[in-house]
């Protein structure tokens, strides 16, 4: 694939900050989204120079944001899943119902499920975000979903 150069951070930040903020509001609520927002982009800055290309930066930063939200949620109220604190904004009802369960999945499955079903990223983008193959990403998402179904029934 053609090399895609990494844009100046300012460009990347401006392009994704609003979407990342909305993502975090949806995950942890308005108030806590503010802390998580700063942490997300600080983490992104820390690994920015290690990126090898500028592809799928959206998937990449959404994965970071999701991890920050989950970490934060666990740290503050261990054992309580994220979505119990989510206000219902009605945007993605089907996914909102799964969200609190997704928080308890193993890391890779959770990220794959959140990115696939919550944010409609392609498996190619998810693979890139998770640093794995497309097959592995598809497998992680589907085994995550199987696990969720078992819990729902």
């Amino acid at each position: 694939m053609e090399a895609v150069t990494i844009p100046p951070f300012e460009q990347f930040y401006e392009e994704h900050r609003d979407a990342v903020f909305r993502h975090l509001v949806r995950l942890v609520g308005r108030q806590r989204a503010e802390d998580a927002f700063q942490e997300t982009f600080l983490r992104a800055l820390r690994s920015y120079q290690k990126l090898e290309h500028g592809r799928h930066l959206k998937a990449w930063v959404f994965t970071i944001a999701t991890r920050v939200a989950v970490d934060e949620s666990r740290r503050r109220r261990p054992g309580v899943a994220i979505a119990e604190e989510i206000g219902l904004d009605g945007e993605r009802p089907a996914y909102a119902q799964l969200e609190h369960l997704a928080a308890e999945l193993p890391d890779k499955e959770r990220a794959a499920v959140v990115l696939r079903y919550g944010y409609d990223l392609t498996y190619e983008q998810i693979a890139d975000a998770l640093d794995s193959s497309e097959d592995a990403a598809r497998q992680a998402a589907s085994s995550g979903v199987r696990r969720l179904r078992r819990r729902l029934t």
Binding site: I6, P7, P8, F9, E10, Q11, Y13, R17, D18, F21, R22, V25, E34, F37, Q38, F41, L42, L45, R46, Y48, Q49
Partner: protein
């Protein structure tokens, strides 16, 4: 649609700089010669651009200093303060370190000599070439002035032709004249 609150945006920009995570911080300074893009690294001032459109400039800066570039006011504040004082006529020398990475050795040599040309005085391209150890390189010195990464602070406006004509200026002759007027350099 929800967007990032301004205060949160500013907090992040401050935090990123405070954590030492940036290769380059920049901001826009309003001055009597127009808005300037001012950029600094942890080593010092690295760019002043008369073209305040950040997109072009940040890509250029990324190639020299690294991609972690963010608009962040605080690290740039000391430079803005000195520029304000200069334009108010209260400052004749700048007390700022500069970062000239990415320039050729000869360019750096010339720019270092340029920095010594005092406030309110002018010199010629030929004389600057001579002081840089290459008396016949007046033309090359002209090119280096034209590409000066840090105009005003490195005072290429104080370099004129041997006949007394202003010759040229990266930011346009009007600005060169304005800076020299401010310094009462042309009698």
């Amino acid at each position: 649609m929800t967007t990032v609150p301004t205060t949160l945006d500013r907090q992040f920009r401050d935090a990123a700089a405070a954590a030492g995570l940036l290769d380059v911080s920049y901001d826009i300074a309003d001055t009597p010669v127009g808005p300037l893009l001012v950029a600094v690294t942890d080593r010092g001032l690295c760019r002043i651009s008369y073209d305040p459109e950040p997109e072009r400039e940040t890509e250029q800066l990324a190639r020299t200093f690294g991609a972690r570039i963010l608009r962040s006011a605080r690290p740039v504040d000391p430079v803005k303060r000195e520029l304000d004082e200069y334009f108010e006529g209260h400052r004749r020398e700048f007390d700022l370190s500069v970062d000239l990475r990415g320039r050729s050795e000869f360019s750096r040599l010339v720019l270092e000599q340029l920095a010594k040309v005092p406030y309110g005085e002018v010199t010629t391209y030929g004389s600057l070439a001579a002081r840089s150890g290459r008396p016949r390189a007046a033309r090359a010195v002209g090119t280096i002035m034209n590409r000066n990464p840090i105009p005003i602070i490195l005072p290429c406006h104080r370099v004129i032709g041997s006949t007394g004509s202003l010759v040229g200026y990266g930011g346009g002759l009007e600005r060169k004249r304005r800076l020299l007027d401010l310094e009462h350099a042309l009698v």
